[in-house]
């Protein structure tokens, strides 16, 4: 048992079982992991023109080839979670989950990517609320415990490794504890992502010529402001304003969950998209984020060359910011413009290096590689415990 668990055991009066330590990302790979895994009801048009058929934007994309792309910033957040032990608190056994979180943003200048803003790497540990029995919400006990952990953990390297936060998951029996711990770490990462968007906006970097592509969905879970006073919820208008020049691009989505209003799915429309065609944009109200999104799908790879018919199709999300957009939809010209530039992002590809090459945009892929390159190795991280 490493230093960290010893400290936790000592400070919380828990009992360590010294169980098998593993990384979820390398062991738990069952089933398809969608970027976006929720029911989406195709309710209303999300753009000003009421299109009934897919639109081919190859010509528009070609016309923009000689202009610099509007996409200048690329954001990716990822986390590795680890089950590092099982500990018993008050005669119940709970998993101890740890995580490495990386959120990075790259800027494209002269056709090459370079890091924009400071890279955020956070090391966190998620403990059950039962670990802090003497405290109402555990926060008062968590802070000194974190300090003690950090005072004990030193890597024999150039710089000491420090844990940034202790997260506390509830022990209600509505879901698996392990999932709850992971969800806490995921939420922590999402907050970092939102903060990074806010920082970009504050730095005045985003404008109509400089958009940000965020890897994955923008449909962030709304966070209770009681739990987190600094939560950057999309439901609040001033936070929404940050997302005027931001789009979320999901590589994978569950096609069976694209529901048509009144029943049935729309997956047929997506499957039949021809190369460089986009679906009409529709408006989707997310109860999860408490915000409206304009969503459309775009095929950037010929289905002849992909494994499945849905490979090569991107799901694009844009937050509806203004009331006018909510009522009339986002300007179709804007959506076409964004889409045309996205089509031009189809090359180069990461074929051979990433199985998701058909859905990957290269700058996003590079940003992802950049973020991953900053991680501590799994073995090293697990050894800390």
């Amino acid at each position: 048992m490493g230093t960290v668990l010893k400290v936790i055991e000592k400070e919380t009066s828990g009992v360590s079982f010294n169980s098998h330590k593993y990384c979820h990302d390398t062991t738990d790979r069952s089933g398809i992991d969608y970027d976006d895994n929720k029911d989406i009801v195709w309710k209303e048009y999300g753009e000003t023109e009421k299109l009934t058929k897919p639109v081919n934007l190859k010509a528009a994309a070609d016309a923009r080839r000689c202009y610099p792309s509007i996409f200048s910033f690329f954001l990716d957040g990822s986390r590795h979670t680890y089950k590092v032990d099982d500990m018993s608190f008050q005669k119940n056994v709970y998993p101890i989950i740890a995580g490495q979180i990386g959120v990075g943003c790259c800027e494209r200048c002269n056709l090459t990517l370079q890091p924009a803003l400071l890279f955020e790497r956070k090391l966190v540990i998620a403990l059950p609320d039962r670990a802090f029995s003497t405290d109402w919400d555990g926060q008062d006990q968590a802070r000194p415990l974190l300090e003690k952990i950090n005072n004990n953990v030193h890597l024999r390297s150039y710089q000491p490794i420090r844990f940034n936060d202790l997260l506390i998951y509830d022990t209600n029996k509505d879901d698996k504890f392990e999932k709850k711990g992971i969800a806490k770490i995921q939420d922590y990462m999402v907050e970092l992502e939102k903060q990074l968007v806010a920082d970009l906006v504050a730095a005045g970097k985003l404008n109509e010529s400089n958009y940000l592509i965020k890897d994955g969905s923008l449909d962030y879970q709304k966070v209770s402001t009681k739990k987190n006073k600094n939560a950057l919820n999309l439901s609040s208008e001033h936070i929404r304003n940050n997302y005027r020049r931001v789009i979320g691009v999901s590589k994978s989505f569950d096609p069976t969950k694209c529901l048509v209003h009144g029943g049935g799915t729309n997956s047929n429309i997506i499957a039949n998209l021809k190369l460089y065609e986009r679906t009409p944009a529709f408006r989707y109200t997310s109860s999860r984020a408490d915000a409206d999104f304009c969503i459309w799908y775009l095929r950037i790879r010929d289905a002849r060359y992909t494994h499945s018919i849905f490979d090569g199709v991107l799901k694009i999300e844009k937050l509806i910011v203004t009331e006018k957009e909510r009522v009339h939809g986002i300007e179709t010209d804007d959506i076409n413009n964004i889409t045309a530039y996205l089509i031009n992002e189809r090359n180069p590809v990461c074929y051979g290096a990433d199985g998701r090459w058909a859905n990957h945009l290269y700058p996003i892929y590079l940003t992802e590689q950049y973020v991953k390159s900053k991680y501590l190795s799994n073995d090293l991280f697990i050894q800390l415990f």
Binding site: L111, Y305, N347, P348, V349, C350, G352, A353, Y362
Partner: protein, 579 residues
């Protein structure tokens, strides 16, 4: 100096005692042979020479690039460049604190300063320095360009520690003769400027064979650079930078094969010869029967003699058997041979060991070289005619003897060359005459181009000239006979000759030559460079240097003459098979 990259060490490509890799900016121009400096433990610095530079991207395969162009659309432009980097492989040549554990990942890599380059390549503390060229480094890196004279320890080039130089490279592009003459000029400069006391124990003279046109027939004249004064200044500045004088060779004597009005044996124009003769520095050489019959064997250098019959005949002639003792002139010698060839003079005769057919073969061969050749006649000293052997015994320190053999056929070239080096060998073996202020040299440097004609791998094993060259290669270092030889293809040279050379200069050559096993220890990048070397550029190997060096040398300070051959003569020479 500029920080240019960081060391990379991975599981599959670790850093080692011998080498490491480092990444650099893709726009930084480096070249193989450039020296870099790396921070190492205990505040030490490790120096390394760049061997290979590669560019990689994250593309997993060619297919990935094809797909990235919309499955083969050649007009596709991507808004993002594929991420790529340059990395260089460098061979460690030293550490300033003698720490040789591998350099560590992430360490800073810098360009080296002039002094550091000198230290890294082992050029800083060379004893008995003798300039052999200069190197230019970081040429394309802006202000960091370095020009550094390269000195070799003369004891490792012309003895006694190591001797013999081999220069290889294809004709014209490699400038072999020019490089050899540059080195000889540097050596003469060094010895001319030597203190009297040192010169008593260590002195040098030169014997240079002119094998092509009029290449070396005016090496004591200044180069006018075709009237281009700027060019002349530029070249002279380089000589000054190298610490050499801008004057051509001095103490030069020219030996031309004797010619008559009807048969010319030299490409030297009459005016040039007359001028040199007037200055008492040109002579015509001949071979007399009485004094040169001992070297007849050299005429059979390229004749297979597995039954030793030719050797048997030569023995009879040299020992004066069988009536050869009374012969005193070449015509009488030919007559005597013709007698031996007459019918009835068969092997069945008890008194005669050698058959008439062998005599006929021998005679044919001798007549080809000697018959009606003005070179083989008695000497008229009043007319400036000499025996080379006699002149060699008169050679003084710093003398340069140029022996012209350019217009002679291959067999005669071999004969003259063999004759001279045999005399040189004997001269060095014999007691020297220091009377009357004479200063015979302690070392004699012989330069011969197209060594492959005389010491080829295909030469007959018992070839007398090959034996002579092997003697020099193997024992010349201690005797003070140093061979500077050049040829197109080093692989064609007898292994015992090339193996005894301490210094190799590789000029531009071709890929077929480089595929030979002689080059297998040279890294492939350097081999590829050898196919692209410019004129005046050499890759030099010497035991003193810590690595192969890519050096340059300035244009000759003496004039470069045209070949003097008519086109049909050149064609004929080219057709002549090289042995």
């Amino acid at each position: 100096m500029s920080l240019i990259g960081r060391v990379i060490a991975t599981e599959k490509v670790p850093t080692t005692i011998d080498s490491f890799c480092f990444w650099t900016n893709i726009n930084l121009i480096l070249n193989p042979f450039d020296v870099v400096k790396v921070e190492h433990i205990n505040g030490s610095k490790t120096f390394a020479v760049i061997e290979e530079i590669s560019h990689i991207t994250d593309s997993a395969s060619f297919l990935s690039n094809f797909i990235s162009n919309d499955f083969g659309d050649v007009n596709t432009d991507a808004p993002t460049l594929r991420i790529g980097m340059n990395y260089a492989k460098a061979n460690v040549v030293g550490n300033d604190k003698n720490i040789f554990i591998p350099v560590q990942s992430g360490q800073r890599v810098y360009l080296a300063s002039r002094d550091e380059v000198s230290e890294a390549l082992g050029l800083a503390d060379i004893k008995n320095p003798l300039v052999c060229g200069y190197l230019e480094m970081y040429e394309s890196s802006g202000n960091d360009k370095i020009t550094l004279p390269v000195n070799v320890d003369s004891k490792f080039l012309i003895g006694p520690e190591g001797a013999h130089l081999n220069i290889s490279g294809i004709s014209g592009l490699a400038a072999k003769t020019s490089y050899a003459m540059f080195l000889l000029k540097a050596i003469q400069d060094k010895y001319l400027n030597m203190e009297e006391e040192d010169a008593e124990n260590d002195s040098v003279a030169f014997v240079v064979f002119n094998v092509k046109g009029r290449d070396l027939l005016a090496i004591d004249e200044p180069n006018d650079f075709e009237g281009k004064t700027e060019k002349a200044e530029e070249v002279k500045a380089k000589y000054k930078m190298l610490g050499l004088s801008t004057k051509p060779f001095s103490q030069v004597k020219y030996f031309y094969p004797y010619s008559t009005k009807t048969k010319s044996n030299s490409y030297a124009p009459k005016e040039l010869f007359d001028k040199q003769k007037q200055q008492k520095k040109a002579f015509q050489y001949k071979f007399t029967y009485e004094k040169d019959k001992d070297t007849i064997d050299l005429m059979f250098s390229n004749v297979e003699d597995s039954t030793q019959t030719m050797a048997g005949i030569i023995n009879q002639i040299v020992d004066g058997q069988n009536g050869f003792d009374v012969i005193s002139t070449w015509p009488n010698f030919i007559k005597k041979l013709e007698e031996q060839c007459e019918a009835g003079n068969t092997a069945s005769s008890k008194t005669k060991e050698i058959g008439v057919l062998s005599w006929r073969k021998f005679t044919r061969h001798i007549k080809k070289s000697v018959y009606h050749n003005p070179l083989f006649n008695d000497i008229d000293e009043n007319n400036g005619e000499v025996r080379i052997a006699d002149k060699i015994s008169d050679i003084q320190k710093n003398d340069v003897y140029v022996v012209d053999i350019a217009k002679l056929d291959s067999d005669m070239q071999a004969y003259v060359f063999g004759n001279v080096i045999r005399e040189l060998y004997n001269f060095q073996l014999e007691e020297k005459d220091y009377s009357n202020g004479k200063c015979p040299p302690s070392k004699i440097i012989v330069f011969i181009d197209e060594l492959n004609k005389f010491a080829s791998k295909d030469s007959p094993k018992d070839s007398p000239i090959l034996r002579q060259i092997l003697d020099i290669a193997e024992r010349g270092r201690s005797l003070g006979v140093v061979l500077f030889a050049a040829e197109q293809f080093k692989s064609a040279i007898h292994n015992r000759v090339s193996g005894n050379c301490s210094t190799f200069a590789y000029g531009r050559t071709n890929a077929i030559e480089l595929s030979n096993s002689e080059y297998k220890y040279i890294p492939s990048v350097y081999k590829n460079m050898m196919t692209r070397l410019k004129q005046g550029e050499y890759i030099v190997q010497n035991p003193i240097f810590r690595s192969l060096l890519n050096i340059r040398f300035p244009e000759p300070i003496q004039p470069k003459r045209d070949t003097g051959e008519k086109p049909e003569q050149q064609t004929k020479r080219r057709r002549e098979p090289e042995r």
